[in-house]
Each structure stands twice: as C-alpha cells, then as structure tokens.
C-alpha cells in the first residue's frame, strides 16, 4: 500500500490542473468542492499509506541507531542525473514524513472545507482553490521528498503559493507588498537551504536523506556545524525565526484560511521539519544556537503579541512565538517534542485562525479587536471552539497544548549548557502566551458590544463551523499522541524514534518533571488571571499593558524596512547609476573620444592645396630621414 504514496501529492496536483483549465467554468461552489475532495482524497490516501507503513517490518532490531527502521522509498523517475549527481524524483515514506503528511492533509482538508464557505462570493473563487491545491501539493512534496532537492521543490513551492495567496487580493497594495516581502524573505532562507545542500553533496556525495543519514557520521564537525547553521538559516526564513520573522505578520494580508493553513499549521512548520529530518547532521554547537534563536524568538514574539490590536496579528505573533518553542525543542535535542508541538500547534492554531476568520467573516471583514466584544452571544459555535483553542495554547491541562509545551520546557531545562535559562525564557513565554490569548478571547467574545451598528454579526455557515468543531476536538485531545504519563503511551516518540540519530531521553526524575509541569500550569493560570483583571474587570488600564514599543514590535520591522527602503535602495540605485554613468559611460566615452579625435584631426584636412603639399613634403623628409638613417651602417 505504501506504493500508492505518489498518489498523495498527485491528487492535489490533479485538482490544481483541473482548476487551472476549467476553474472559472466550474464556478462557485463546485471548484471549492473539487479542491476539497482532492485534499480529502489525499488525506485518505495518506491514511492508507500510513497503514502500509505500519505494516512494514519494523527493523528496530537491525541497523545501527535505528536507521534501518521502517521506511519505503518510491522512486518516480530520475530528475537531474548528471555527473556524480543523482537527483531522483522520489518520495520517502517513513514515520516522520507520514506524521507530517497526516496532519498536513488532515488540517488541510478541514481548511479547504472551511474555505468553501469563507471564500463564497469572491470573484476569484476558483483561483483561490487552485492556489490552495497547489500549496497542498507543494507541502506534500516538501514532507514526502526523499532528498533535499525534492524537499526544496516543495519548499520553494509552498513559498510561491504563500506569495500567491498572501497577495491574493492584489489590488490592495499592502497585500501585494506583503506577498513580495514573504517571498523575498523566504528566499534568504532558501539561500541557506541551497548552500547546505551543496555542502552536503560536496562532502557526502549524496543529497538523499537516507544517504545523508547513513554517511553523516563521516562529516567533519566544522562542516556539519556549517551545514546545521545554513539549515537554521533556511528554517528561520521559512519558520519566521529572528531575524527573518518579519514577513509573517504582514502575511496576514492574505485570506484567513490561508493564514490558518499556510502561516500557522503547515508551511511555517517546514523549518522544524527540515531540522528534524536532518537531525543526524546537527552538531552540539549548532543545537545550542538553534535553542537560543528559538527561545529568543519565542519571547520576542510573545511580547509583541501582547500589544497587537489586529485579531490576526495577535495570532501571527503567537505563531512565531510557538515556532520559537519548536526551535527551542530542537535545540534541546527533543525532536519528538518539536514534532509533537508542530502537530498540536497545527490543531489549535488552525482552529484559532479559522475562528478568527469566522469572526471576521461575521463582522464583515472587521479585524480590529477594539471593535469587537461580546460576540459569544451571536457566534456561539465559534466562541466555544475558540475558547478550546485558547485554553489549548495557553497550556491548560489536559488540552493538547499543555502536553507538548510541557515536554519542550522539560527538554529546555535539561539542556546541558544553559538549560535553566532557556527554561526560564520558555516559562515567561508561556505566561505571556496565556495572557495575550486570554486578552484576545476576552476582547473578542466577552465584554460589551464595540462593533459598529452597521455590522450584523452572525454565525458562519456549517462548512465553516464544521472544521472548527473538528479542530477543536483535535486540539482538545491531541495530547494523547504522546502522553508522558506512562512510557508506552509515548506513541509518537516510539514511532519517530527510527528517524532520529540521537533519540532524546529525559533524564529528570519524575519529581522534577511534576514540579516543572506544575510551575508551567501556574504560570499559564497566572497569565490568564492577569488578563482577567485587565480585560474582563478592567482593573488595570489598557494603555499600561500595551506600550508602544511592543505594539510596534521593538521597531525592528520598521527599522529593517527603513533600511531596505532607504540606504538599501540608495545603494542599489547608486549601482544602477554607476552602471549607466561609468560602465556604459566608458563605452560611449571611447566612442566619443574617437569622434573627438577625428574632429581634432579634421582641421588638417583644410581644403588648402598648399597644406596638403606640406603634408607630402614633410612626410617625404621624415621618410627619407628614417630610411636613410637605417641605411647608415
């Protein structure tokens, strides 16, 4: 059954192709349903393949370091065979890729479904699904790719789709700019990806994951660290880590399902996936740097989220923050925790985005939280599901977020170099997360009505609420994938173990674990409590909690923009001017010089016979002198 793996990406691709040719003719809502069907089919096939994978002989007993574990490579054709390079269009079925594929297609399908309703009435309805299907295809190539080049295909593909989707409403200049910004920033990461690929190939002579995993032991530490850091650059671009996070908040210009799918659940986790996938290469130095980057990003974005007013911006910064968590986990060596959080995050952040979309939809495209409030009454399903998501992300047990976050904090604590510091940062972030999510929930669903009288908030249609409900369920119980209570319950961990070069094992005693978990819960509750005081009871003035520094995200983005728009553009312009004035100027200058030379000599051709005779006469004397002197022996 694993042989059918190629069908997983093929279905969305087929959906894309059909929509490309016949999209406008299919019209609304058939185009949407078609795309959703393709996505759902893909999900089903993933399930089937997953089953096939489970049926494969588990080779835990064979192969060093678990490398020979369950996996299956489906080679479709040779893509770029030349010289020593063999790049195949091949798909890899292994626990990691299946985990990713499952939640990608699963969440993806739900978001497709949600979009059927959400995008209703848009003039470019079919085009939206066209992009969405293409995105799904790319994302699947990313996670299923057997080598770095195929992954890169997906990697760039999702970037492209992200660009297309962010600037979907391209008549809005902000949307267009945001799309471009996302693509270009991603490209900076891609640079890292490419150079990492080159370095790995030069060093190991292969680009396939199985090959890299098998040969990575031979890598010199320096090379491995370089590769790791390049991969971190790649991942930072795609997963919006410092300092390349800048595109993600702007990406909220895209339609909300896009934010949910691309910029919360799937694409942004690609960086995490990549680092986990190439975990055999990562060195300790690199891991420490990854952890620091992750922790810093987590705290930074959480602080930024505290003071945002746009409902989606809060979620965007929250996403960045959570991604930071995942990087922290990777940096701490807890790859499974990272993937675990990827999955749970996909559930609750997808849920939250879709919920916010429902709100926006219901309020007629209003995104400012200061113009919401008390929506609990008019949008009950949305409100309930949103609350589930809120609690999940805040880390309130037993919802899924609690489990994954707890595991990350524990891993950070155990980080050998600066563990406690990392843990502390993570803890503060957790508190802030609980606070700003509570703030959002309260502002949107609780309190009094602050929306304009003209708006008529209403609950969304079933195509939108159904995914909300399903996702809420997943977000609530997602934790069961990897419950640390009993060793056998660590399903995900066992499942993923074969792909890890150095499986992580927690060393802390149960007491420590419990204590840390307790502190985390307290922190989360503390955050919620502050929010209650500030936003439900209005005991704390809002402006004290929303300093301009945070609202403007430490002025980092604007500084970068100003630099790019100012000195950066000036430098480029200087180059272009130099090209015109000096490089081309030199060429024209030579031409002009020759002309001027001609004009300078031209008076000699004066028209006067006697001048010409002078020329002959003087020339004759010169020749005579020259030749006669040569004749003197």
């Amino acid at each position: 059954m694993v042989e059918l793996v190629w069908l997983i990406p093929a279905l969305p691709l087929a959906g894309f192709a059909i929509l490309l040719v016949a999209g406008p003719r299919l019209g609304e809502p058939r185009a949407g349903w078609l795309a959703t069907a393709a996505s759902a089919g893909s999900f089903l096939l993933t399930l089937i393949t997953f089953g096939g994978l489970l049926g494969l002989e588990s080779a835990e007993d064979g192969g060093a370091g678990g490398h020979g574990g369950r996996s299956f490579v489906s080679t479709l054709f040779e893509w770029m065979p030349i010289g020593g390079l063999e790049v195949d269009a091949a798909l890899l079925v292994d626990p990691l890729s299946m985990t990713m594929a499952l939640f990608v297609t699963g969440v993806g399908t739900l978001i497709h479904l949600y979009s059927v309703g959400y995008m209703g009435g848009d003039p470019k309805y079919s085009k939206f699904f066209l992009y969405l299907n293409l995105f799904l295809f790319s994302m699947l190539m990313l996670v299923l790719g057997e080598n770095m080049v195929v992954t890169f295909l997906g990697w760039e593909g999702v970037g492209t789709c992200s660009y297309l989707l962010i600037s979907f409403w391209h008549e809005r200049p902000t949307a267009a700019t945001a799309g471009k910004k996302a693509f270009v920033t991603n490209r900076i990461g891609d640079f890292g990806f490419m150079v990492a690929t080159f370095l790995l190939w030069t060093a190991l002579g292969t680009v396939s994951y199985t090959g890299i995993a098998a040969l990575s032991g031979g890598l010199a530490t320096g090379t491995a660290t370089a590769v790791s850091l390049l991969l971190l650059l790649a991942a930072a671009g795609k997963s919006a880590q410092l300092p390349l996070y800048v595109w993600l908040p702007d990406a909220m210009e895209g339609p909300t399902p896009v934010s949910a799918m691309v910029h919360a659940a799937t694409m942004v986790t690609a960086g995490v996936y990549l680092l986990v996938r190439l975990n055999p290469v990562l060195t300790d130095t690199a891991l420490l740097i990854i952890a620091i980057v992750g922790a810093a990003t987590a705290l930074f974005a959480a602080l930024a989220a505290v003071a945002q007013h746009d409902i989606k911006k809060v979620l965007a910064y929250s996403t960045i923050s959570q991604l930071g968590y995942m990087f922290l986990a990777i940096g701490s060596g807890a790859y499974v925790a990272a993937i675990f959080h990827v999955v749970t995050h996909a559930f609750f952040k997808g849920l939250l985005f879709l919920g916010s979309g429902s709100v926006i939809h219901g309020l007629g495209d209003e995104q400012d939280m200061r113009r919401m409030g008390g929506l609990r009454a008019v949008m009950p399903i949305t409100a309930v599901t949103f609350i589930v998501g809120w609690l999940a992300i805040a880390g309130v047990p037993p919802l899924s977020g609690f489990w994954s976050k707890d595991e990350i904090l524990l891993a950070a604590w155990e980080q050998s170099d600066i563990g406690p510091l990392l843990w502390a940062v993570g803890l503060v972030t957790a508190l802030l997360t609980a606070y700003y999510m509570s703030r959002q929930t309260f502002l949107v669903f609780f309190g009094g009505q602050r929306w304009d009288d003209g708006a008529h908030p209403h609950e969304s249609p079933p195509t939108m609420t159904l995914p909300l409900v399903l996702l809420a369920g997943a977000a609530a119980i997602g934790g069961i994938m990897n419950l640390p209570l009993v060793k056998d319950w660590l399903v995900l961990e066992h499942f993923l173990e074969p792909v890890l070069a150095h499986p992580h094992h927690f060393s802390s005693g149960t007491g420590t674990k419990l204590l840390l978990a307790l502190i985390a819960v307290v922190a989360a509750l503390g955050g919620i409590a502050v929010a209650i005081r500030a936003w439900l009871q209005a005991r704390i003035p809002a402006d004290r909690l929303e300093p301009a520094l945070l609202e403007n995200v430490f002025y980092l983005d604007s500084t970068i923009s100003n630099f790019v728009g100012g000195p950066g553009t000036k430098a480029f312009d200087a180059a272009a001017t130099a090209d015109r004035r000096f490089v081309d100027g030199a060429v024209n200058g030579v031409a002009k010089l020759v002309r001027m030379l001609g004009q300078a000599v031209r008076p000699l051709q004066s028209g006067y016979l006697r001048h010409y005779a002078s020329g002959v006469a003087v020339g004759a004397i010169a020749l005579v002198i020259w030749l006669a002197l040569r004749g003197v022996s």
Partner: protein, 540 residues
C-alpha cells in the same frame, strides 16, 4: 517535406545532411521570401514561418535521432560529434565546411530552430513583413551555423554574420532609440570579435600540425599545438569576444539598449539565441581549444560570472523600463552560465548548457510578454502601469509562471540549470558559488518588485482596459510555457545527451592542464577548515 519523411530517409541508410539542411532551409527560405512579389506582403510571414518551421521540425528530428549511447561511448570530444558533414571549402587555408553536433550544441540548435518559427508566426512586425521575415530566417540560419560549426573559420563567419540581420531588425523595426542601439550592438560585438579574428588566425597559424595550416577545431584542439603563453594570449582574445557576447559585466552595456530598442521578435531571438553564442563559444572554443589557458584564467572568468550575477540583478532592480529590466536579468542569468562553465565539473557544465536553453525559454517568453504589453499600452515604463492582473488575469498568470521560472523556482526549467550550476560549481569554486547563490535572492527581489508594480495594486482607467491575451498570443506562448514546465520536471533527456559531452570535455581539460576533477564525497574535501569558514559566513 516532412520530418517524418526525413526520418524515414535517414533511417533507411541515406545519409541525409540534416545539419546542412538546418542551415540552408532557412537561408533558402529567406531568399524565397525576398523574391515574393511586392504586391503580396501578406505572404511573407506564412512563408517564412513555413521555412523556419521546417527547420524546427528538422531540429526536433535531429534531437530524436541523436544517439545518446554513441555519445556516451565517445572517448574524446572529437569523437562525440554526430551528424558530421565535412566538405572542402578553402583548401589552401585548411578551411572546410565542417559541421557536427554533440550534447552541448544539440540543444542550442533545437532551441534556435524552434524559437524562430514561433516568433515569426506569433509576432507581427507591423510593417515591411517581407524584409523582416527574410532577416529573421537568415538569423536562424546563421545562428544554427554557428552552433554546429566545427571549423574556426566557419564559426567566425557564422558568429559575425548573424550580426547583420539582427542589426537590421533592430534598426528597421525597433523603437525610438533604435539607431543608437543597433549601432552600439553591432560595433560593440564587432569590436569584441575583431580580436577574436586575430586570435583565431594566430591559433591556426601557430597551432596547426606540421602537415599544413588548418582551421579545423577538432584537429587543433586535440593537437594542442600552441605554446602555453601563445595559447593564453589567444584564449584571452577568445574570451573577451565571447564575454562581450554573453554579455559579462562590465562588457554588457550594449545589451540593455539592444534589447530595449529591438522589436519583440528581435529581443526574443537575441536573448534566446545570440547571447548563447558567447557562452557556447566559451565552452566549445575556450575550454576545448585552450584547456590549459582556461584553467589558468578560470578564477578571473568565474569572478566575472559571479559579478555578472550580482551586478545584473542589482541594476535590474532599479530599472524603470520593464524591457530593460528583463534585459538586465539576462546579464545575471548569463553570469550563472559563465560561472558554471568555468567551474569545471560535469554538473556545472551540464547545468550551464541547460541554463542556456532555459534562459532562452524564460527570457524569450518574458520578452514576448513585455512586447504584448507594449502592443496594448504603448509603454513599457513601470511607473505608467499598474494593476494589470485585474484586467488581464490570463496574461498575468502566464507572466507569473515565466517569472517564477526566471527566478528559479523548482519544478520549472530555470531551477534545473541554476541548481546544477551552483551545486557543480560549489565543488570547485566554493566561495564564488556562495556569492552567486545570493543572486537567487536578488532575482526574486527585482522580478517580484517589478511584477508588483506592474500587475498588482489598484489599476487606473487605462490599465483597466488592457485586453487579456488573445488566442493567437496564447498559442505563441504555449510552447514556452510547456517547455518551461516540461524541462523543469523532466530535464533528463537533455542531461543524458549533454553529460557525455561534458565528461569528455572535462577529461580533455584534465589531460591538458593541471586541473584535477573533484570527487564529491571524497573525504579530502571535507576538512574542518572549510567548515569553520562556512560557519563565519552566516549571521547568527
């Protein structure tokens, strides 16, 4: 005469001189078109497209008939040539009509022969169709000739002779600055090849075997009769001529003018075919003829290539004229190819060849698209356009696809070449490659920025009325789009044919110079020093 008949003919053992036909069919077509009655100007383009199309069909048949297995068996570059046709031409000087293709030239021949009929059929010159068509056909004949020539004299003849139709196309059917641009184009490239001629003669005079002077490429290259210093000097002259044609920074400034002022079809052919003469020349006449000198000069040339990548991208970003922007993007793309050629690995050289084809497809299509926009709006100024995507979604879609191909998004053709060049170059030219890879970022920057300004945003009234693509135009673009996708997904046939040629060329290089082929995965390369340096390159 159909391709099928020809296939049958060649299959049945009749030695059909297909390469000569590829040159002479368009040439004869030019003559026929020129002799058409004046009263029927409408016949010119169909006739021209017919002849050019026969050439295209022949070229496809050529690609079909190309024996990859035989190419793989070749033990030297000279043995790798197929469809060889050799006739004595000027025996006194050892000059012969010697043509043949290998995996390097094959695809350029196909590209040339296919693109010309497409643009002939698809682009309306608006006036004087007869001479226009005739010049286009001559352009095709000359370009194919240059790609298949295996004689230095013949190559130079073809290399130079294509200037004339191109010059007249720019001068006669171009835009406002056409006189300046055409002259600059002609003079600049002629200046480059002035020294080339001296070098060719010097190569033949000094490098010929004792049996007598010859201009035969294979004889001269396999013989390696030149002294080291003479070879280096000659190589420098060759390289300058080809770098002008490429064009490499800082010898590139003729290109933006020529491209901008040329008529659409001229720009397409210029980008797709003529620029390739430079890179092809570097491969065929630089590496093959002067392996030692190539190795000697490689650091400089690689630098030139990388500078081209970066400089082309930066300057492209600041252009106000859309066509000029595309032209500068050509400079960047061609820089990649130069890098690839002088990286001396099979991957990079193969990538270079692929990139030549790909650049022809994507930049050619971009010029077509810009031309179509100009037809509608009578302007190419980025400032004067906005929101075209709202008015012309199909047009915008095709543009997007081609743009992505040009940026090098995987799955489309542009990626394959760029990636292979970079990965191949990384083995031997690590730091240059790292710098060149930043060009990938810049490519996205300038193209997307331009795209945003032209296609996105709220359209003005004039923009709203921009008509979408017509059927004919779509048909013209279709081959480009199909090729862009097909070559991005399945470039293997191209690579299979090219690889043996690249391999034998590298063997030739190794044999005649100090250069040693790198071995990917060889632990020797992996040392801590490199890694530590790589570490410094990142900002964290």
């Amino acid at each position: 005469m159909s391709a099928g008949a020809l296939l049958a003919a060649s299959g049945s053992g009749i030695d059909f001189p297909i390469l000569n036909a590829l040159i002479f069919v368009p040439a004869v077509g030019a003559l026929v078109v020129a002799l058409l009655p004046r009263s029927r100007p409408d016949l010119a383009r169909p006739m021209g497209a017919l002849f050019a199309g026969i050439g295209g069909a022949l070229a496809l048949a050529l690609a079909w008939q190309f024996d990859t297995a035989a190419a793989a068996d070749a033990e030297s570059v000279g043995e790798g040539f197929q469809f060889i046709s050799q006739q004595s031409w000027i025996p006194d000087l050892g000059i012969s009509w010697h043509v043949g293709v290998d995996g390097i030239s094959l695809w350029l021949v196909v590209l040339t022969s296919v693109i010309v009929p497409i643009v002939l059929a698809g682009v309306d010159p608006h006036h004087d169709p007869k001479p226009y068509t005739a010049w286009m056909l001559l352009l095709q004949a000359g370009s194919v000739g240059a790609f298949v020539a295996l004689d230095l004299f013949l190559f130079f003849v073809m290399f130079e002779v294509v200037l004339v139709p191109m010059y007249l196309l720019i001068a006669g059917w171009g835009y406002d600055g056409r006189r300046y641009a055409a002259t600059k184009f002609f003079i600049y490239t002629m200046a480059g090849s002035a020294l080339l001629l001296v070098a060719i003669i010097a190569t033949a005079v000094l490098g010929s075997p004792d049996s007598g002077i010859t201009f035969d490429l294979v004889t001269l290259a396999e013989g390696q009769g030149l002294a080291t210093n003479a070879a280096r000097l000659c190589f420098v002259a060759f390289a300058i001529a080809f770098l002008v044609k490429v064009p490499a920074v800082p010898l590139h400034t003729w290109l933006p003018d020529a491209h901008t002022e040329a008529p659409t079809a001229g720009s397409v052919v210029l980008a797709a075919v003529l620029l390739k003469l430079g890179t092809y020349g570097l491969l065929r006449f630089g590496l093959y003829l002067f392996p030692e000198a190539s190795d000697w000069a490689a650091p400089v040339l690689v630098t030139v290539g990388v500078v081209g990548v970066i400089w082309g991208a930066i300057t492209a970003a600041m252009q106000r004229d859309l066509k000029r922007l595309v032209a500068y993007s050509s400079v960047a793309h061609m820089g990649f190819i130069v890098l690839g050629i002088f990286a001396f690995t099979a991957e990079a050289i193969g990538g270079g060849v692929i990139q030549m084809v790909n650049h022809g497809i994507s930049t050619g299509a971009l010029f077509l698209l810009v031309g179509m926009l100009y037809e509608r709006r009578r302007t190419r100024q980025i400032d004067e356009l906005a929101g075209i995507q709202s008015a012309a979604p199909v047009y915008a879609g095709v543009f997007t696809l081609i743009m992505l191909s040009s940026i090098g998004v995987p799955g489309l053709n542009g990626f394959v070449g760029e990636f292979l060049i970079l990965i191949g170059s990384f083995e031997t030219r690590r730091w240059w490659t790292v710098v060149a890879a930043t060009g990938v970022i810049l490519a996205a920057l300038y193209l997307l920025w331009a795209y945003q300004r032209v296609f996105h945003g709220p359209p003005a009234a004039a923009d709203r009325q921009t008509a979408d693509l017509r059927k004919g135009e779509l048909l013209t673009l279709a081959p480009f789009v199909i090729a862009a996708v097909a070559l991005g997904v399945y470039p293997k046939p191209l690579l299979n044919a090219t690889e043996p040629a690249a391999d034998t060329l590298l063997e030739h290089l190794v044999e005649h110079s100090d250069f040693e082929l790198p071995d990917p995965g060889d632990p020797v390369i992996v040392d801590a020093g490199d890694g530590a340096d790589a570490h410094d390159g990142d900002d964290h």
